[in-house]
């Protein structure tokens, strides 16, 4: 009877297919990823059937967190952000150093009053999440949110006009350049469990500025 030969030494596994697969997945995720932006608050957004895209370049965003605090962000070209922060700093006489100024251009939403802003900008990302603040004041006696929105709107309109004309000049003959794409869009990101009255403060501020077409950030739900 033939003896069964036992293989000598350790068995070897060919790992090449696994490596192939792993790198395929890595490549896929690298290309498909759009990174979560580093917002100072996390909010759970409600769902709706709304299917418009969130604009990336022409976004004026007010976030309402669970405690009803307001956060403000203007996304877009750095010239817009620079103009907004310098106008705000001048109006509220906020002593911003050059480093703090640059820091503002880097981050996304801010959520503090102008008096707290220098300290807010000096802390790092994690510190900002735990920064003790009541958010941007938006009551009738001290409506800083209104100034933020107003300056952002004006700066973005100005920038959008130039960008539109430029895009129109450079457009190919069969390309349609819509002026709407260059106008600011006013977006509210509300936490589902926040009280509506708090969101209403932001909404009323927009309406005071005669900006009535608002958008709510929602996650997409299927139309039934």
């Amino acid at each position: 009877m033939a003896k069964i030969k036992m293989p000598k030494g350790t068995p070897t596994i060919d790992m090449t297919p696994m490596v192939d697969l792993a790198f395929l997945l890595v490549t896929f995720f690298m290309l498909a990823a759009n990174f979560r932006s580093n917002e100072p608050v996390d909010v759970n957004i409600p769902s709706s059937i709304g299917d418009e895209e969130v604009p990336e370049k022409t976004l004026i965003l007010v976030t309402v967190d669970k405690g009803g605090r307001l956060f403000f962000n203007v996304a877009g070209d750095s010239t817009v952000r620079r103009s907004v922060i310098s106008q705000m700093a001048t109006k509220y006489k906020a002593p911003l150093s050059n480093a703090q100024f640059k820091e503002y251009l880097k981050i996304t939403s801010i959520g503090c009053s102008m008096a707290e802003l220098p300290a807010y900008l000096s802390t790092d990302g994690e510190g900002r999440k735990n920064f003790k603040t009541l958010g941007i004041p938006a009551d009738s006696t001290n409506n800083q949110l209104k100034d933020w929105i107003n300056y952002a709107n004006l700066a973005m309109l100005q920038y959008g006009k130039d960008a539109y004309l430029k895009a129109k000049d450079e457009a190919k003959p069969n390309e349609v350049v819509k002026p709407e794409d260059f106008k600011p869009k006013f977006v509210l990101k509300v936490e589902g469990q926040a009280e509506y009255v708090r969101a209403k403060m932001a909404i009323e501020t927009f309406r005071d500025l005669n900006l009535n077409n608002l958008h709510f950030v929602t996650s997409l739900e299927n139309k039934q």
Binding site: I49, E191, E195, L220
Partner: protein, 206 residues
């Protein structure tokens, strides 16, 4: 480890010495480690579903109030409080009519959706007609959109007022607006609550 090339023990003692065969195996373990590390990183940091936005036009503020009372015909007013929603049809306490009673509803399939489907039947039927024409390619997309907006402005179309009290949550409000969009309602007005309405809600909650 996975790829250890064994050559120990065999050389000694047996006559002829062969030149060592150099192994072509490469230890891939560190590379796999790295690949999976990167994979985990990208899986955790990426977000796939881009959030969408839902547009809502609020009534303009500075319009001087017209002296004549707006005709509230074919309208429903929704009153939202914390996790509960009420509605009444037409005017509040109409002259010569019975006093307004609030009716409670919910966001389930038998609640708001059924109510709106019934009340806004005209527009929904128009929408179905347009959808049919669209699939048969009798009209183009932009025409269908325009016609739907026209249908939403006809007197038969339902108008909806949305009022929230102090305890309402944002999720309640957005759920309702979402239902209104599902029911193809063109005229949505989020407005301030009146004292009488607040009193009616308070009476209902108790």
């Amino acid at each position: 480890m996975a790829q250890i090339v064994e050559n120990g023990g065999g050389d000694s003692g047996k006559g002829k010495k062969r030149p060592k065969k150099s192994s072509t195996h490469v230890d891939m373990t560190p590379m796999v480690d790295l690949a999976f590390l990167l994979l985990t990183f990208f899986v955790l940091t990426s977000t796939f579903s881009k959030p969408k936005v839902m547009s809502l036009v609020y009534p303009a503020k500075d319009v001087p109030e017209s002296t004549e009372k707006p005709v509230v015909k074919n309208a429903i007013t929704f009153l939202i409080t914390k996790d509960r929603v009420f509605y009444y049809k037409g005017e509040l306490n109409p002259a010569g009519g019975p006093k307004t009673e609030l009716i409670e509803t919910d966001f389930g399939p038998q609640g708001v959706r059924k109510l709106l489907a019934k009340e806004n039947e005209y527009v929904i039927r128009e929408k179905l007609k347009l959808d049919g024409q669209l699939t048969r390619k009798e009209i183009v997309d932009s025409v269908a959109k325009k016609k739907l907006i026209e249908a939403q402005k006809t007197p038969q179309a339902l108008k909806v007022l949305v009022k929230t009290d102090l305890k309402a949550l944002c999720a309640n409000f957005i759920d309702l607006i979402d239902e209104l969009y599902i029911a193809n309602i063109g005229m949505i007005a989020p407005v301030d609550i009146m004292k009488d309405e607040q009193a009616l809600i308070d009476a209902k909650i108790k």
